[in-house]
Symmetry: C2
Amino acid sequence: MMNTQLTLVQMIERAEKYFPKKEIVSRTSPSTIHRLTYKEVGKRTRALSNALEKLGIKHGDRVGTLAWNHHRHLEAYFAVPCMGAVLHTINMRLSDDHLIYIINHAEDQILLIDEDIVPIIEKIKDQLLSVKAFIIMTDRDTLPETVLDPVYSYEQLLAKSDPNYQFSKNINENEPAGMCYTSATTGKPKGVIYTHRGIVLHSFALGLADTKGLSESDVNMPMVPMFHVNAWGIPFASTWFGSKQVLPGPNFTPQLICEFIESEKVTTTAGVPTIWLGVLKELETKNYDMSSLRLMVCGGAAAPKGLIKKYRETFGIPFVHAYGLTETTPLLTVSNLKSDQLDLSEEEKLEIRSKQGMVVPGLEVKIINQQGEVAHDGKEMGELLVRGPWIADSHYKDDRSKESFRDGWFYTGDIATVDEDGYIKLVDRTKDLVKSGGEWISSVDLENALMAHEAVLEAAVVAVPHPKWQERPIACVVLKDSYRDTVTKDDLISYLKPQFAKWWLPDDIIFLSEIPKTSVGKFLKRQLREQLKDHLAGV
Amino acid sequence: MMNTQLTLVQMIERAEKYFPKKEIVSRTSPSTIHRLTYKEVGKRTRALSNALEKLGIKHGDRVGTLAWNHHRHLEAYFAVPCMGAVLHTINMRLSDDHLIYIINHAEDQILLIDEDIVPIIEKIKDQLLSVKAFIIMTDRDTLPETVLDPVYSYEQLLAKSDPNYQFSKNINENEPAGMCYTSATTGKPKGVIYTHRGIVLHSFALGLADTKGLSESDVNMPMVPMFHVNAWGIPFASTWFGSKQVLPGPNFTPQLICEFIESEKVTTTAGVPTIWLGVLKELETKNYDMSSLRLMVCGGAAAPKGLIKKYRETFGIPFVHAYGLTETTPLLTVSNLKSDQLDLSEEEKLEIRSKQGMVVPGLEVKIINQQGEVAHDGKEMGELLVRGPWIADSHYKDDRSKESFRDGWFYTGDIATVDEDGYIKLVDRTKDLVKSGGEWISSVDLENALMAHEAVLEAAVVAVPHPKWQERPIACVVLKDSYRDTVTKDDLISYLKPQFAKWWLPDDIIFLSEIPKTSVGKFLKRQLREQLKDHLAGV
């Protein structure tokens, strides 16, 4: 067979050639919505490559972005890799220390920055060692006042550059196309390199009828940020397949999400549970036409069973669990039903849908504990290992790589079970698992049960050191406003009792007004563990 | 990213692990239907690898099959490549000369033969230079009488071999997994190598929602033979995705096809126009429940527009054109509608569906003539060139390779147009095109128009040498029985007149009782050209 390389060049060129009139809807600010076609985005992308080349970017150089979901970010998604350089998407919500660390560690040469992010970079600019130029992605005709230097206007650069620039023909599929750092809860962020090959194969996986089936007829709106694992790969696959894209920009609200779904006839969307909790509230207070939606993907953290049930049964929205990590590009599993499960009861189907799902074609997983591979019984817990062509083989220039990458497998740090049908269920992070008297207790199972209670808005369960049992679970609970002060610790313990073995029940329940979260909305359990570390010392 | 190789091992292991109870329905003779699960087929496949190894097959050796579509052939599809050897599927309908040529040229070490094919091999056995053993795939407990030697019973070998045999871990994705020879209409057959990588990527393409969307919930019945470009890749993709498979065996009839679709609830099937013409007749005479069918793929040759219309409008069966070649694994294009074409009139949609369609993601095509790339206007004709990771880069050990493989492209030998939406339409083979007075006339367009006439069963148009115009078209027509002797040459010419420029009209129409065909059912135009070469000499 031909030695054709799997690169991103083919993806954008396919969109230009076969879907020139298809639309990208891009919201760059609460007051500005752009509508562009793939033909226009193609020309702008080529001009951006040319502009970067003129600014000195060479094959292999890193170009950073600090930007929301919009068309200019999409253009960078292709312009940078298709000239042979590396797109480093940066989470602007990281701490200044972490931002400085990752920009220096990646050795970013140029930063592409949204106008509202400029102040963040101005603050740290003197500590950025490799950055040679800043490009501001503003809608305005003139550059904002800034101390960044040298600084360019994105649109002015494009206007002066070649819209017929030829993308690189010399990219090997194993070369880096992109990179992303994990939003570490402990230590420095870890970098992950995405190769052209990895992204192309991952895009194939997103298009499979058995996973998300992304297709030309779709209107895809990723709510997951484009700085977070390539918005789960949706912009790449959408462009390749010629889907219409809706990019919701900064500061979106549940209302905006619902309005976009209704007005743009969005067919697929994807985000973390927090987003869908917000949208659910919106749907409960106001009527929207959501009938265009064929897929609402939830990932990043496990969705409570009640959330899945509500979406499916009350609103008829196909809410589907998916799972992956920064190191996995990210798609690992999707929880679609197999054909022989369609006749199960609603309760049984919900049970399956609340799992993370089946591994997608192209990857291999196994779950191991000290006894070896776990039984496929949905009960025995172990750490989930994964391998395949879109799984990282190391953390970028990081001595900690050997902790997670061993014997050809990536150790996810997630504790999971697998049932006889092959559905994986995450029960915890290795570090969040409660190890009580030699047995394992899943903090996530307890959290999900608590969050299914009508009074509970959020719940986080953490392992707290215990003099006798080594560790015991403590639950931190946020009650819904209407239930505040009417539900007690004993109420919740009594509610949990019939669902769990006695020794699983939390030793205490602490009511909080909010659970601390990471910049991508995950519970920051490390902080809770720290606060509660002496809570059971005197028992 | 990890350097995980794309091999067939992963495909069969996924079926074993996640779809152990899914069924393969296999008809090995008119009186025998087997039902096996992927678990059973997995064990049998491993035993077959082990048996072949014990018979001396090593990494890289070729193993030939002469077999119909059934479970044993499916087992060979994985057993041979997954031990690192090469599966050579042989078209048993080739002439003895061609059979001898390709078996010797491929240097097949072992032949796996269906019982009814044994006499064909017995006849030529003394001329087979590399074959060291014969395995007969019989349902019976004992071997049939045969002069083949040494000869083994497939089932007896499996019974003595290891069902837990471990597939090779040392396969590079660029190594050959399979091979197939073209059924040449002139000269010796040409061999094509399919690599592991090519087959895996092609299987991804078959699973895309925008192509055929093969999935776990499908019941796939390939009517295209498993010796013909891997039954268009369907057995590979079906196994990977865990689809139920229905393998129809030898000597099937239109009635059997309809009965299988009805009883096994087949959702996708694929074959050449001849098959679907036969099935249409069957559907017109008897009622069947075809409601399970979501996709009837037609390839190998262009389907007449009337056939597509009849299936869609009269029977509500989603009849879809696809196109590919032995050298292309084979999927190149599929003629699905784009979302903005769904509102067109039925006539306009039919027009699009009668084209070969859009190139699938992962491949690139271009159409060139002496002026360079043709305009995307649906009119300008040129030769179709293709490249991509599942396109052959040469003919196997064949000096003729340089005719078809040049500048990194495969020259298909097909003359095509492309419209502004990117839909490719084949208008002819380079060698069948009629070159009249410096202009090109598509023999296929004329044939399709003729075959749309109610009286015409088949029509072949060939270029015949002409003293003044260089070449002129002559039509060879087979009338339907009920119209025989009632339709004249002038009737057909008058019928064609409003549809074509005057100089396109055939100089003569010759009525035949049958159009000569190749072993895979394509018109053998070479023979007609030879017969008619002096037909216009005296004008």
